[in-house]
Amino acid sequence: MKSFYSRVMSYLVVDHPSPALKQLPLVVAFVIALVILAVVPEVTVTNIGLVITGVAVLVGATILAASLSFSAKYERWSILVPIIDFVAIGLFRAGTGSSVSVFGAMVILPVIWVAGEKGRGYVVLAAIGSFIAVMLPFVFGVSPLETGSDVARGIFAPIVYLFAAAIINELTRQSRVQVDSINALAQEKEKMLQRTFEYASQLEESEVRYRATDRLLRSVWGAVTVQSVIGTDTTGLIDAWNQGASRMLGLTPDQTQGKRYVLDFHLQEELEQRARELNYPPGETVLNPGFSALVENARLGEVESRDWTYVSTDGTQIPVSLTVTRRVDEDGEIVGYLFVATDVTKEREVSRLKDEFVGLISHELRTPLSSILGYLELMKDDEEHPLSEEQEQFLAVAERNAHRLLRLVGDLLFTAQVESGKFPLDLKDVELDQIVAATVESARPVATAAGITMVEEILADGLVTVGDPLRLGQVCDNLISNAIKFTPRGGTVTVSLSKSDSDAVITVRDTGMGIAASELDQLFSRFFRATTATRNAVPGVGLGLTISKAIVTAHHGELGVRSEEGVGTQFSVTLPLTGAGVSAGATTVTRARPSASPPPSVWYPSI
């Protein structure tokens, strides 16, 4: 229905009428003219042939107009219709009395049509058309062109029509301009409307996304029930408090948000200790040293995890691993901090049990080994019953293996201590050249027996570090005995001590079988054995390097390795020299501070 309606309307629309619609007034005028001819006796037909021809031409023009109305493709041909109309009017006028015909006024209709077309040329065309219509009776010789008035009419009427056409043409041009500008405005409005719709839909999408994010955030926030998550502003005033925090610390969000400071739940001594470690100058700009100490690294944009103690409302102390991060606004300015804490009570307990277990195992394994070794020795020392040479050999084997077991127990115990994060270090000033010289000397008999040349290079004298001499000796022993084990007869093991900036560097270099590059990463893992070791049946369990690395790390040093298969391997131990690394700062706070009288023993909380 609607399409039919719009189709009908398209024929009738005033700003773009179809040729048929434009033709309609003339058709009506012709019908009226014919009625007048029939009923008014004074109006007569002077030449019936011309009247019929005129009506026929009009019918033809009307058919043409109608057919052009259905096809926009041929629209430009529609100008033919008024031209033909001029001929039809001319013929009709000639057949109804020529210059005395009462129907000459009909000429105005095609004149309006032609003049209304776009372009000045149509004004002239309208005038020519009207001239044809006026002059046609004379062309057909219906009435001879005799009088001056006929000639005057033939010139005057077209001139008047020319003026009328010019006025119509100009008026339609103006209205066309107006219509165009109205159309342009309408289009602009349409575009704006379109844009508004787009914005609206974008806004809607954003809102959907925002809601989804909000829901996700809420569900994540709600899902964290074990870890305590506390948000604060830049002064430490709490503005977010999750379920985990409620469980851990015994207060609800309403009791804390906007009312309590995060410091209220910390152990004061720990904060003071940390502030001292960070060397905050007393009375400086730091308003609250405790809070500043807590967020120091987060403020600098680092993600820091550190062990702290939370204190709940009932005074219970909870050991936590706390990660502090900063919260920033869209400009990157810090607006607060986020404190995510995990209760590590259980981990601490497990660690304690592990220590107990290690102690027990150590005791339980060492005691029978003591008996084995002790009684073997008694047997060898028994002067009343001397052993045969063969028996001596057998006992030597048993003794050697008992010692091997004992070393393994020692290594396992030490590894367990390393794993549990603490092993004893007896710190004192250590002269590294002495350590190197002693270990080289003790390894020399084994090297000689294996046909290997030991070279000792002391390239810098008087290098002193703070460390445990026994443990550092153990590292050198491990590296040198490894080098000897992995170097074939005729090779060389070079041990050197040198200085690099503020570090001492001990290198142990061999000309042995080397280690595959793909295995270098795993070299320091517990129980790892290189394929060159297993392939060549070099004895060992894969603990030596793990232990060495742990010892070096505990001394704030580094253990590095370079190797090429078939060429040799070089291990480097880098240790900070006394006096180096004492400067205060976030990166050095966990370093041991060398002092005039170092504590005899230090338990490292972590390595």
Binding site: R366, T367, S371, G374
Partner: protein, 126 residues
């Protein structure tokens, strides 16, 4: 007169080893017991010149006995040698701080123990 010794260790084999080493050094083994309480009782009853005590024993530990003995003036003449399976310096120090005269780590050489005891208690000095 040879020096008299009380030996305490929960491990019978270690007790045997210490006993042999002590005898080789010419010491008179008064008692060889397997727990801390019996050790303290033997020390109080027999008033030995030396007590060789295991650190980890059922009942009182060697270190605890050491503290009790050192706090008792009537036992001032008793010297104590602690034997322990833990070799780290912290436990050695704890042992010595409790008042022990000497400290021995397992495993130990019976030969060395004999030598040490002989040096401390030359025959007929007591």
């Amino acid at each position: 007169m040879s020096a008299r010794v009380v030996i305490a260790d929960d491990d019978a084999d270690i007790r045997g080893l210490v006993t042999i080493a002590a005898r080789k050094a010419g010491l008179d083994v008064l008692a060889s017991v397997s727990d801390g309480d019996a050790a303290l009782e033997a020390i109080r009853d027999r008033l030995p010149d030396l007590a060789i005590l295991d650190v980890a024993m059922p009942g009182l530990t060697g270190v605890e006995i050491c503290r009790i003995v050192r706090a008792d003036v009537t036992l001032a003449s008793v010297r104590i040698l602690l034997v322990s399976a833990s070799a780290d310096e912290a436990s050695v120090r704890a042992g010595l701080e409790s008042g022990a005269a000497d400290y021995l780590s397992k495993p130990f050489s019976p030969r060395d123990l004999t030598a040490r005891l002989s040096a401390q208690f030359p025959e007929g000095s007591e």
